[in-house]
Structure formats: C-alpha cells, structure tokens
C-alpha cells in the first residue's frame, strides 16, 4: 500500500487533499457560528472573536422559528415536498420494477425518457412548465408545484430502485408464487420489504430535491406558495438579514439527518444481502 503511494508527492498529495476537503467543508462550517451573531452583520464581530457571550444570540433563530413568514414557508415546503415525494416514489418504484424486468421492451429509450427531467437544466424545465401550466391555470397553485416537483424528483427514485432491483433475486417471486401468494401479496410481503432501502433512499433524494428547489418556485409559485428556498432567495437578493444564516444552519442540520438516514439504509441493505 505505502510503496505505491510513496512515489512523488505523498506529502504534496496530502496537503492538496487537505486543502480540497477544506474547500468543500469550510463554507458550510463558517455559516454555523455566524448564525448566532448578535449584530445584523454577515461577518464576525470583534466580540464574537473574543468569545464575548453578549456577541452571540439566538435572535435570528427566534425570527426563523417563530416568525410568520418562515413558518408559512416551512409549511409550504412540507406540503409540496411530501406530496411530490409520495407521488414520485410511488410512480417511480412501480416503473423501476417494470424497467428491471428482463422482458421490458425499449428499455434504453424509456429509461432515457424517465431520467431526462434530472438532466434537463431546471431553468428550461421551469420555463416550459410555466407556459404549459399557465394554459391549464395551474400556475400559482399547490397542484402545479407538486406536479412539477414530482416530475423532477421521479428520476432519483427510478435510479435508486433500479439499482436495488439489480440485486434482487427473482427466484423469490417464483417461490412466493409457488407457495400460493398472488402478485399483490407477493409485492407487499416479499418484494417491497427487500427493496425498501432503495425505495426510501429514492424518496429521500426526491424530497431533498424538492426541499432545495427554487427555480420552478420562482417561475410558478404565487405569494401563497412561497417555500423556504424561495424565502432564502428573497433574503439573499432583496434584504440581507442574518435570519437566512439561521435558516441555512437548520437546513444543514436537515442535510446531516438525510445523510445519516441514507447511511443507515445502506448498511441495512448491505446486511440484507447474503
């Protein structure tokens, strides 16, 4: 192991990678202490640097957690995110089962079609959705937002569940059938439990997408449907207030939780495999 890395630049590589990881993490870590700033600034005050307790406060968290605007944004985010995730996960899981069947015709084309929402730049998708949904009077409605987010989140589910299906032993289906289980029973009792880590991680991806999506919301949502990312966008663009740093810290916390959940799911699906 060491012999092949002891070539040129072991230390150079380490320092380079150290800087690389610093580059990745520093922006995320720097925001956390700043969100406790007692002053309405985006930068460290002298008091913060000397660890003066008076320089720190929870006022921005108060604003985010108790303020009407952020509360209704959080509610909207949840409504849109959960509905879109449920829709995308259901349709995506069923479709992935079809795609994984060896008998599936036109697999490549259909896969490309189903994954395309993930690849097409969101600005383009959002523009098209604005045109199309406004002709159906669905702009500035929850329905329009939910449908858009479900379409853009579904590819994540298709990909993760297809990957999980690849490790699925299809003889189990035959075994279930030979024991007299019908297809519906087989699906819920045999297939779904084994696939569930893939399904849930696909759902988490779809939810994380919706949680972070701002372009479609900018183009399509009315004042009533403003989500957390939309409020953050407004906070950055229109009025710089450290409240967005508090919101950002909370979102980082959510990212950590999502990551932990995925990690656990992965461990579970690995231990399921023989």
């Amino acid at each position: 192991m060491s012999a092949w890395r002891a070539g040129p630049g072991t230390w150079a590589l380490r320092i380079f990678c150290g800087l690389g990881f610093l580059f990745l993490m520093a922006p995320i870590l720097i925001i956390i202490p700043l969100s406790f700033n007692a002053e309405p600034y985006f930068t460290f005050t002298r008091g913060m640097l000397t660890l003066d307790p008076d320089a720190y406060s929870l006022r921005w968290y108060e604003q985010v957690l108790l303020g009407e605007r952020w509360r209704s944004a959080a509610l909207n985010t949840l409504i849109v995110g959960v509905s879109a995730t449920l829709l995308a996960t259901t349709l995506g899981t069923v479709a992935a089962m079809g795609l994984s069947s060896p008998a599936m015709p036109w697999r490549r084309t259909i896969t490309a079609l189903l994954i395309s929402p993930m690849i097409v730049p969101v600005v383009i998708a959002a523009a098209g959705m604005f045109f199309f949904y406004s002709s159906l009077n669905l702009t500035q409605t929850y329905t329009g937002l939910i449908l858009s987010h479900a379409a853009l989140g579904a590819p994540f589910v298709v990909i993760t569940v297809t990957a999980a299906m690849a490790g699925f032993n299809s003889e189990l289906l035959l075994a279930a059938a030979s024991l007299g289980a019908g297809p519906v029973r087989t699906f819920f009792k045999v297939q779904l439990p084994i696939l569930s880590p893939g399904v849930v991680s696909g759902g988490l991806f779809a939810f994380a997408f919706s949680l972070d999506e701002v372009v479609v919301v900018l183009f399509m949502a009315g004042l009533e449907q403003r989500t957390i990312p939309r409020e953050m966008w407004a906070g950055i663009r229109e009025e710089i207030s450290p409240a967005i740093l508090a919101a950002a810290t909370l979102l980082i916390l959510i990212a950590v939780l999502l990551l932990l959940a995925l990690e656990l799911l992965q461990r579970r699906s690995n231990s399921d495999k023989p």
């Binding site: 995320i28 490309a112 929402p117 858009s148 990212a255 995925l262």
Partner: protein
C-alpha cells in the same frame, strides 16, 4: 408467456411514462412551440394581417389595408390588447411601441377616411414601407424572429437576414462564454476531484468512509445554503477579505472584489459541482486494486509511468461520467451565477430567466431555452452512448 411478461413490464412503466409525458415533456414541447409559433399579432389584427398577405410589397399598401388597420387598432384599444400588440411589434422593429399606442390613442378621438392619408398624419411612420413590412413579418404565426434574435441576427425590410447592430449582439458571445466557463469549471473540478477521489478510495476503509462524508455533506446541503456561505466568505466585508486584511496581505481600503463578478461564479460553481465529479470517480476508483500499481512498480515502472499505463486507463469511466455530468450541470446553471455572479458572471440560463421574468420576451426566452435544450440533449445522448444511462448510480 414472453408476450405476457412484456406487457406486464410495460404496464408497470406506463404510469410514470404518462406522468412524465404530461408534466414534463408536454411543457418542454410548449416551450419549443413558443420559440417559433407566435400568433399574437395575427390574433389581434386578423384582417389587416390577411390583407397584408395579398399586398405585393410595393411602395405602400392600398387604402383598404389602412382602413382595416385603423378599425382593428381602435378595437384593440377598446379590448385593452393594444399594449401587448405594441410590445410585440416593438420587438420586430424598435420604435413601433410608441407608434402603435400613439396611433391607437388618436384613433379613439378622431380620424376619418381616407385612412391612407389620415394614419400617416397621426404618425408619419405609417408612410414608411419598412413599418408595413415589419407588420407583415410579425403577422406570421410561424416566425423565425426569436431564433434569429437568439443568434444576434435580424430580418431586414428587404427580407435579408443581417447581423444585429454591434451594441445588441449578446447571445452568441454568451453561448460561447457559457461553454467556455462550463469547460473551465469541469477541468477545475477534475483537477481537484481526481486526487481527492484517489485519496478517499485508497485510504484505509474507516478513514475512507469519514472522508467520503466530507464530500457527501456538501452534496446534500441545500444549494442556496452553499451559495449563501460563499457570499459570507467572499464579500468585501466578508471572512476571507477580513482574514487577508488582518494578516496584512491586503490593505483595508483595497479589499478584493471576489464576488459579483466572474470570480464569484467560478469559485461557487466549482464548489457546488465538485461532489458530482468526486462521487463517480470514487465509485470507479474503489474498484481498482492498488496491488496492480505495486506490481507495475515492482516490474520497474516508475510512478508516473505506472500511473499512466495502469491506473489512469482503468479510472477513465469515472473521469468520463464525472466530466459529462459536471459539464451538463454547469451549462444550465442559474442560481449560483444569479446570486454571486454580478453583471459579468451571468450565463445563458440567467438571460433565459431574465426574459421570462423581467423583460417578458417569452418567445426569446423559449428560443434561447430550446437552443440550450438541444445542446444538453446531445450531451445527454452522448452520455448514454458512452456510459449507459441505465448504469447511472447516485451517492456512493
């Protein structure tokens, strides 16, 4: 039997295919349609447009056309559609906005036949054949105008396609800039990401997992949060500038401008897209046996040669996947340049959003979007051809 499972598989995929078809493909289709199909003028001035179709294009149209225009402009003013008409015609030939709305106002109060004399008296533009040519052009339902504009071209009165005046040429340069920036960011991500992925993939398992989290956490953190962080770091009174000033490297009155320009776009976009490079690289590299490198060096190959001949070729699928992914994503990037890019750091997507939301020139937005869409679609097909979409994986 085979036929039955075929149908079954198709039926399973069908709901999502239909859903994506309605909620995603149809919207894209309506955008593409809008980029060349614009019935607005033909709907507001149907008779005038039809009559202009018969016009031989000579000096000026006959009295009949003038009369129809006067009638329909009066109607449009009553229907309150004249504003949209004026805006649309102004895009065909600038200056027409005030001609149309001004004429509409006067027609409401006065005017009598013969219109071929009355209209030019209200606004002398109606005595100019070029204006009538522009009107005839704009009256077509299927129009190349938006694509021409998106490529810095315009249609002249004598129906020749010419360059836009120098000051109005933006989009060709913008496409080139978007491609250039995306390429540069892809290379930057590869340059930083390759060693990182290597380091993670060939660390002892425990440390490897820990290091992977350092890549996954930014990946999972909201894009807006990461962009906010860069604003905090890069702004003039921000952390980086304060650090440099404190260290005495930069004078307090000469703080660096690190954002609201191209630098901001580069730094923040590289940060956002780096995980998309590291993760595919890592998943390929963790399948490469380091023993092979040892074998190569024990056979006398020096490190660079062993790397080039043994390691690099095996890591190429990851390089391809990462580069294509980062490039495709960079081409369509909107949020980060919009927030930290300032004037000079804007890319094509920002102009699409600008025309969608601010200038409300939806046809041009659709044409720019369609061009970008075709470019991305080609890259997407390339990705499928080279790497296979059905083998795409997310995360680790």
């Amino acid at each position: 039997m085979m036929g039955k499972s075929r149908t079954q598989a198709l039926l399973l995929a069908l709901p999502l295919v239909a859903f994506i078809g309605i909620t995603f493909v149809a919207p894209l289709g309506s955008m593409v349609l809008r980029s060349f199909h614009d019935p607005l003028v033909a709907e507001i001035l149907p008779k005038t447009v039809a009559a202009l179709g018969e016009w031989d294009g000579g000096a000026l149209p006959p009295e009949g056309v003038y009369a129809l225009l006067a009638e329909e402009l009066k109607q449009a003013r009553a229907d309150r559609t004249i504003g949209r008409l004026a805006t649309r015609l102004n895009r065909q030939a600038s200056g027409l906005r005030s001609v149309v709305s001004g004429t509409g106002r006067r027609l409401a109060r006065q005017g009598a036949p013969p219109w071929a004399e009355a209209l030019p008296r209200m606004n002398k533009a109606w005595g100019d054949p070029e204006v009538w040519h522009a009107l005839a052009q704009a009256g077509r339902r299927v129009t190349p105008t938006y694509y021409l504009n998106a490529l810095d071209l315009r249609m002249d009165a004598d129906r020749g396609v010419t360059q836009q005046p120098e000051a109005k040429r933006i989009y060709r340069a913008l496409f080139v800039k978007t491609i250039g920036v995306s390429l540069a960011i892809t290379l930057l991500c590869l340059g930083i990401g390759y060693p990182l992925a290597w380091f993670i993939a060939h660390s002892p398992p425990r440390r490897g997992r820990l290091l992977l989290v350092l890549v996954l956490l930014p990946f999972w953190t909201s894009l807006l949060v990461r962009t906010t962080s860069w604003i905090v770091l890069l702004q003039q009174q921000g952390v980086l500038n304060s650090l440099l000033t404190w260290a005495g490297i930069v004078a307090d009155d000469q703080r660096l401008t690190l954002m609201h320009n191209m630098t901001g776009t580069f730094v923040a976009m590289t940060h956002v897209l780096l995980p998309f490079m590291v993760l595919p690289l890592y998943s390929v590299m963790s399948g490469i046996q380091p023993v092979q490198m040892q074998a190569a060096s024990s056979l006398g190959a020096r490190w660079p040669r062993a790397f080039r001949r043994v390691y690099l070729p095996q890591s190429m699928p990851g390089v391809g996947a990462g580069c294509l992914l980062v490039f495709i994503l960079a081409m369509g990037y909107y949020i980060t340049p919009a927030l930290v890019g300032g004037q000079s750091g804007q890319l094509i997507s920002n102009f699409i959003a600008y025309h969608m939301q601010t200038s409300l020139n939806w046809g041009l937005a659709a044409a720019l979007g369609s061009i970008l869409f075709v470019a991305v679609l080609m890259l997407f097909l390339l990705y499928d051809r080279v790497l296979g979409l059905d083998r795409m994986r997310l995360g680790s």
